[in-house]
């Protein structure tokens, strides 16, 4: 696995750029562990200060130091995306491997459910949850709900790989050796789908953080919890752009774009690594 990463960094410029972008954002987010201020407090410093040596990212109209505010926001958003990705990976691996390996009616039923989830537009559903839960809607609840909608695409992908694995020699050996279905799936098949799991992991984070931003911007999450989305929400509600506090909007947008492009490049280059046909193309063969 490490060799794979080393090769990717060395030969795949997209992967290297993605890694650098995501790395910067992750380091920035980790700085929040050393934050001198509590990001949930307001009016801890002079409001509306432009970026300077003292306030690197300026301060906002709520009297918060944007540097520490955004650091906490990015940490929360990344943790959120990570949680959704882990949870939805578990569902997609379980469904994908089971459907692919068992086949038959189990496969048909699971894929039928899968297709239903694909067809349900998630945004109105999330809004509905917010509408019902209102302020009880915290990050973890949101992550759970989104995990329930974030698996079907990848489950299908994993299933297609599992279908191919089913007829391979080693599977037959394992079955003859008396391995239980659960063991075959976890010990024999899981390693084969791990590359897909990693690549879709990035895509899934992209998707969930993006949705969180969207919901938060509209005020449909817990707006007192600093995240990328709520940072923009507060900036909007104070009409930051209109009153000239541009750094309140521009800096988080730049950081956010870095995060998204970084994650996307990682996902894309890992995807190419998995699909050898596109790798050959890259080498000019």
């Amino acid at each position: 696995m490490f060799a794979v990463f080393r090769d990717l960094i060395r030969y795949n410029i997209e992967f290297a750029i993605g890694l650098v972008l995501v790395g910067i954002v992750v380091i920035f987010a980790c700085l929040s562990f050393f934050s001198p201020v509590d990001p949930s407090l307001i009016y801890t410093t002079i409001p509306d200060q432009p970026p300077s040596a003292q306030f690197w990212f300026g301060t906002n109209s709520r009297g918060q130091d944007m540097f520490w505010q955004l650091s906490a926001a990015f940490r929360n958003s990344l943790v959120f995306g990570f949680t959704v990705a882990v949870l939805s990976r578990i569902i997609s691996i379980a469904v994908g491997l089971t459907a692919g390996y068992l086949g038959g009616w189990v496969d048909r039923v699971l894929m039928f459910i899968n297709d239903i989830f694909v067809a349900v537009p998630i945004f109105p559903v999330l809004v509905l949850f917010y509408f019902v839960l209102r302020n009880n809607m915290d990050s973890l609840t949101l992550a759970l709900i989104m995990a329930c909608f974030g698996w079907p695409f990848d489950a299908r992908l994993i299933r297609s790989v599992a279908l191919g694995l089913k007829h391979r020699e080693f599977t037959r050996h394992a079955v003859f050796a008396g391995m239980s279905t659960r063991k075959v799936l976890l010990e024999e098949h899981l390693p084969y789908v791990m590359p897909i799991v990693f690549s879709t992991f990035m895509n899934n984070m992209l998707w969930s953080i993006g949705l969180e931003v969207t919901l938060a911007v509209l005020g449909f999450t817990n707006i007192n919890n600093p995240t990328i989305g709520t940072a923009l929400y507060w900036a909007n509600s104070h009409s930051a752009m209109v009153v000239g506090v541009w750094w309140w909007i521009v800096i988080p947008v730049i950081l956010m774009v870095m995060t998204f492009i970084g994650l996307f490049l990682l996902a894309m280059s890992m995807n190419e690594y998995i699909d050898p046909r596109s790798r050959l193309r890259r080498m000019g063969a």
Partner: protein, 334 residues
């Protein structure tokens, strides 16, 4: 023909299942929560100083009848469906006493039009450019186009829409940034109205296109660079078949087949994007209606918008799925 009918039947079954599960989920989410919908809605209504007692009494009656909160949940569920089939979600709170369904039906054409036009443009631009980029891999312009696609594609709808809003609202105000049409025109089949509608739809559509085309571009480019190595393409090139025919009917045509499946799968996401875009540009569609309804605590309207959008998206996916066998003769035969 028989094969096609079986195919349609299967898809229709799936469509009904999606609508059934989607709408049931809508019901469950709202009914399994500890909040009493009637009192919550009324409380929010009075909190927003809508204190017309007649409205409140009518509302309480309507809501209690609609949600039947005193009955067991399964009978509430049956009641919910029987009303839903008639398209009756009760009166809207936002514009009492207009039925929620009327508001939804008023907003639906705006969203459907915006979504359809933007999706068609996005799909066309992304696939044509992506196809060309896959076929002419050394073309510099198309390479640059690919970089732009990679750059914009992962950015959330909201941010792109917001950047456009700033660009065209403050920096270079040439396009209207809010509403569905200008105040001074009369809706109808007259040119001032139509041109006003087109102008107002430009920015929302542009933001949808900008975010959307990258995915199609990258997908098509990858597909085409696989298809060009297929024997039938090499053979057609060897036979001196016209280049335009090769690119169109041999390469792109084959690469388009999986892209159509992708379109069906992407529609749900595009719908979510439309909701945001409408909000940013204050566009009078379902998205704006949904957000207004949530903010006003309008229970019936939220339920109506959710149910209708689940149904609409599922139907759109169904229609795209029906096109699939037309594009791929191999499906027809099965």
């Amino acid at each position: 023909m028989h094969g096609y009918l079986v195919f349609v039947g299967k898809r229709l079954l799936q469509l009904l299942a999606v609508i059934f599960f989607g709408v049931s989920a809508t019901f469950l989410v709202t009914h399994l929560s500890p909040i009493n919908p009637v009192e919550a809605a009324l409380g929010r209504m009075t909190a927003r100083s809508v204190s017309n007692p007649e409205a409140i009494t009518a509302m309480r009656a309507a809501l209690t009848e609609l949600y039947g909160v005193n009955e067991p949940i399964w009978s509430q569920y049956i009641n919910f469906w029987s009303r839903l089939v008639q398209g009756d979600f009760g009166p809207s709170l936002l514009a009492f006493p207009t039925p929620a369904m009327t508001l939804v039906m008023r907003a639906l054409p705006w969203t459907v039009t915006l979504l359809t036009v933007a999706t068609l443009i996005t799909f066309a631009i992304g696939n044509v450019m992506g196809g060309l980029a896959g076929y002419n891999q050394n073309n510099r312009f198309l390479k640059a186009f690919g970089l732009v696609a990679i750059g914009i594609q992962p950015i959330p709808y909201y941010v792109v829409a917001f950047i456009l809003l700033i660009l065209f609202g403050f920096v270079w105000p040439i396009l209207p940034i809010s509403g569905g049409f200008a105040m001074n025109v009369t809706p109808g089949w007259n040119w001032p109205y139509i041109s006003s509608v087109i102008q107002h739809a430009t920015l929302p559509a542009l933001s949808l296109v900008l975010v959307g085309f990258g995915g199609w571009f990258l997908g098509m480019r990858a597909l085409v660079s696989n298809v060009v190595t297929e024997d039938y393409v090499t053979y057609a090139e060897l036979a001196g078949v016209k280049r335009t025919t090769i690119v169109g009917s041999y390469v792109m045509r084959n690469a388009l087949v999986p892209q159509l499946t992708a379109l069906a799968m992407a529609l749900g996401g595009v719908f979510s994007g439309t909701v945001i875009t409408e909000q940013v540009f204050n566009y009078p569609g379902l998205g704006s209606l949904l957000i207004d309804a949530v903010n006003a605590g309008d229970y019936s309207l939220v339920l109506a918008v959710s149910s209708v959008s689940v149904t609409a998206v599922a139907t759109a996916i169904f229609i795209v799925d029906l096109l699939y066998p037309i594009l791929d003769p191999r499906v027809r035969a099965e």
